[in-house]
């Protein structure tokens, strides 16, 4: 962080920043509005898709990932990969634990899903 080695990051345009802010506000309104519509399982999918979109906008523009080095971008992707390992493996473990008591869990689970 030496004073005379500051990087040459382009200075963001105020218009871009305000546009991202407006998009984030609109998406917040959208996710709140959609949550009042009954979509069954799709509600959580829509909510998470909108959240991922908002987080990507914040990271890419506000946190200026777009102007960082490839190494920093690689670190961000690695962080996301580790996060998905944490959540997906934990979730798949817990959500399949009772399968051990079933003869053909994939078959019975599918049948149960269809009869619902």
């Amino acid at each position: 962080m030496s004073a005379n080695h500051e990087h040459h990051t382009p200075i963001p345009k105020v218009g871009t920043l305000v546009a991202v802010w407006a998009a984030l506000i609109v998406l917040t309104g959208l996710t709140s509005a959609v949550s009042y519509i009954e979509l069954g399982e799709l509600n959580i999918v829509v909510a998470l898709l909108i959240a991922v979109t908002k987080a990507s906008l914040v990271a890419w523009i506000f946190m200026a990932v777009r102007h960082t080095t490839s190494l920093t971008k690689l670190f961000c992707v690695a962080g996301l990969a580790w996060l998905s390992i944490l959540i997906l493996l934990t979730y798949s473990d817990y959500s399949t634990r009772d399968w051990i008591y079933q003869a053909k869990p994939w078959a019975t689970n599918k049948a149960a899903g269809e009869s619902r």
Binding site: L17, S35, A47, L48, A51, F62, M63, T72, W82, Y91
Partner: protein
């Protein structure tokens, strides 16, 4: 500068995994007790939660404008935008405080209070959701308080004319931290306030 950016992102990734653990616990327990979790959503104030989301998004805009002001050596703008960010951040905490207060009055704080729940069949399992709610929003609020401390430091340094176009790394790094805390809330809001609140 590239080194400090990379270092900051490395720290933020550890923070992602720290909050990720709680998100994983949330996913597992929601899958285990879907009805009990859905029944808690009517106690979540969507208006206050949504307002807080908007407040944090505004604070992110003023933060990124503060970084821009530092890049352009505009000391007065930098001071104004740091103060605005602090105002938005404090407003978030005040609103959060009102929410916590109403949970306390309704006896919905597990562990330190005699937990009471209208739908008695969910008495035990609903406590898990409220436990996660206080852990996740509490850790998030703690990060906000740390962020306000960092912004206070920025404000003092900005007043002392430390930052200019050739030296603004601390403004940028604290900005990254502030945006990260915003991103955590972007996920907390739909998961805690929105999912299942029609039932």
């Amino acid at each position: 500068m590239d080194a400090s950016t990379l270092g900051m992102w490395t720290f933020l990734i550890t923070e992602v995994l720290f909050f990720g653990g709680m998100f994983a616990a949330y996913a597992v327990y929601r899958n285990m007790y879907p009805e009990a979790f859905a029944s808690t959503s009517k106690y979540m104030d969507v208006i206050l939660g949504g307002t807080n989301t908007a407040v944090l998004i505004c604070s992110s805009l003023t933060m990124v404008l503060a970084v821009r002001a530092a890049q352009l050596s505009k000391r007065r703008d930098l001071i104004i935008f740091v103060i605005l960010t602090m105002i938005f951040g404090s407003a978030f905490l005040v609103i959060k405080g009102f929410e916590y207060h109403s949970k306390w009055v309704e006896h919905l704080v597990p562990g330190i209070q005699n937990f009471q729940y209208e739908e008695t069949r969910y008495l035990h399992n609903a406590q898990i959701l409220f436990f996660l709610y206080f852990c996740m929003t509490g850790m998030h609020a703690l990060h906000m308080i740390v962020g306000l401390g960092l912004l206070t430091y920025l404000l003092i340094q900005a007043v002392r004319r430390v930052y200019h176009a050739n030296y603004f790394a601390p403004v940028e790094m604290i900005g990254l931290y502030w945006h990260f805390v915003d991103v955590v809330w972007i996920f907390l809001f739909p998961l805690l306030y929105l999912i299942g609140h029609r039932r």
